[in-house]
């Protein structure tokens, strides 16, 4: 029997359709159908000014907007031959890690609901709200930040921000114990999550699976360590790895990543306290600097030649490794922008890690993948 789980289904966390062929309660075959949230972000980007693409990045992945901004910005800066100031690099690192906490809390909230727990959902959302408050205090928005700019970030951190962030980090760090009490110490949690959704390390690599799913299979791979970008080579942290490759292992990896993120945030805050400086490169061309140039004016670019370039960036986004490829042919719009979402590959591998388990296992398994349909469909 084929059943359609989605596009309107509590398990999907977004708009997509998981077609499942079941025999009794056992899954025989799956066929994910994507595209319900396809907004053509790559196409729209071709018609937009380099800075204006940033507004799309927040909407590409609506739970990890700053990480996606960062991804695009690295590629765009490489394509435009620009170098951001060091303070901006640290602020981006800080933003990435705060975003990782917020995103993982969002994942935790959605995941525990998939296994029928409502209480930690609200705990996680409450604590995520504090991180969003921090975002709001320096980017000006809670979800669509529009904070990075080609060549740096929009504005410096407000006064008192670092102290507030430290307090919030202390609070959240203490809360992680409660999360573990409600899940990891629960007998039923282990009955539900141990040994399901297993995807071996070899399958992970073959199917392009990255991020916490890959690290839960025991592969120690983290772009922040392997190819440090921004200020990640100047902060100390450990890569969270677990064995088992099942749902519990993914849970452990993400919880440990949140703890490590708190650690990184504290280090960047210390650095930011000591090193004031500019946050936007001062040698920006007029049409990229702020305030923004009228982009509709043709006369401007006709009379100038800009360097062309290609930018490729890869970022350890909360969901996994994301890549961006920006082709600059000298216009004020990028010629082609291509994004690779980690969740895209993680869902594509569903035919490897779902069959053989039960229908009731689908929510925890797909919940442990941490799906953000916005970045799959783009």
């Amino acid at each position: 029997m084929w059943i359609n789980m989605g596009p309107q289904h509590p398990m999907t966390h977004g708009l997509w359709n998981l077609r499942v062929r079941i025999e009794g309660e056992i899954i025989e075959e799956v066929d994910p159908e994507m595209g319900y949230l396809h907004r053509g972000i790559e196409k729209i980007s071709e018609d937009r000014h380099y800075n204006e693409v940033i507004t799309l990045m927040d909407r590409t992945c609506y739970v990890a907007g700053l990480a996606w901004e960062h991804l695009y910005i690295i590629a765009a800066e490489q394509a435009l031959h620009l170098e951001p100031p060091e303070r901006a690099q640290y602020i981006r690192t800080l933003s990435d890690e705060l975003q990782r906490i917020a995103s993982h809390l969002m994942w935790y909230a959605a995941f525990v609901q998939d296994i029928g727990l409502m209480t930690p959902f609200l705990y996680a959302m409450r604590d995520r709200d504090l991180v969003l408050d921090l975002f709001q205090s320096y980017t000006g928005a809670r979800m669509t930040y529009e904070y990075n700019r080609v060549g740096g970030v929009r504005n410096d951190l407000p006064t008192g921000f670092t102290d507030r962030t430290r307090k919030v980090m202390d609070w959240i760090y203490a809360r992680f114990v409660d999360y573990d009490h409600l899940c990891l110490d629960s007998d039923i949690f282990h009955r539900r999550c141990d040994g399901i959704g297993v995807l071996s390390a070899r399958d992970c690599v073959d199917w392009g699976v990255t991020g916490p799913m890959l690290r839960s299979a025991g592969v120690r791979r983290d772009l922040r360590k392997d190819r440090p970008y921004a200020a990640y080579d100047r902060v100390e942290f450990d890569v969270a790895v677990a064995d088992g490759a099942d749902v519990t292992a993914r849970y452990l990896v993400r919880m440990e990543e949140m703890r490590q993120a708190v650690r990184i945030v504290r280090q960047t805050l210390d650095w930011l306290d000591k090193n004031p400086g500019p946050v936007l490169a001062d040698r920006l061309p007029r049409w990229l600097g702020a305030p923004y140039a009228p982009v509709g004016r043709e006369g401007y670019l006709l009379k100038r030649n800009f360097p062309t370039g290609r930018g490729f960036s890869s970022v350890e986004e909360p969901h996994g490794e994301a890549q961006a490829y920006v082709v600059n042919t000298g216009g004020e719009h990028p010629y082609r922008v291509k994004f690779r979402s980690p969740v895209f590959a993680n869902i594509a591998a569903a035919q490897k890690y779902l069959p053989g388990y039960r229908v009731a296992d689908i929510p925890p398994i797909m919940g442990s993948v941490d799906i953000c349909v916005g970045e799959v469909d783009r």
Binding site: W207, D226, R227, Q323, K338, A349
Partner: protein, 158 residues
């Protein structure tokens, strides 16, 4: 792995089908190859060079021709490798990478529907994001976006 090393190791396998190896920031290099050698190159890159993880496949419409690019990652090198090939716009097809990297499956489906590049011997070449009967290829340059004014929604209340 430096571009010249790449050239040394891939040259004997591909011969004239290896067009160029250029340096490309953020990756080990950009390998440009002729499409006839696609499958051999993929095998060599995966098995000989150790780039076991395929990160993405994409395509660019350069109006006169189309470019298909592959990005692979090696755990040993801790680096990306960028492969690209040019296809004539009139006859844009290339061998599918799915036998080598299963991960290419969805990426190639997306490139197929968006930029109209066909992948030979792909196990399941359907549209991924757009409906099956959708007759356009949105990421071609000839596909123009509407002006916002044209999309103005008329409602009863306004």
């Amino acid at each position: 792995m430096q571009p010249d090393v790449l050239r040394e190791r891939l040259g004997p396998i591909l011969g004239p089908r290896l067009l160029a190896v250029e340096p490309f920031a953020g990756t080990a290099g950009r390998v440009r190859f002729a499409r006839e050698g696609a499958l051999e190159l993929f095998r060599a890159v995966r098995d000989t060079l150790g780039y076991r993880h395929l990160a993405m496949v994409g395509a660019i419409d350069w109006v006169d021709h189309r470019e298909v690019f592959y990005v692979a990652w090696s755990d040993e090198e801790r680096d990306y490798l960028f492969l690209s090939t040019d296809l004539p716009a009139s006859d844009a097809h290339v061998e599918s990478a799915t036998p080598v990297w299963p991960a290419a499956n969805w990426h190639e489906r997306e490139a197929f529907e968006m930029v109209d590049v066909r992948f030979d011997h792909h196990p399941d070449l359907r549209h991924l994001l757009t409906p099956d009967e959708y007759a356009f290829h949105p990421l071609l340059r000839s596909f123009k976006l509407h002006e916002p004014e044209e999309l103005e929604v008329k409602t009863r209340n306004v």
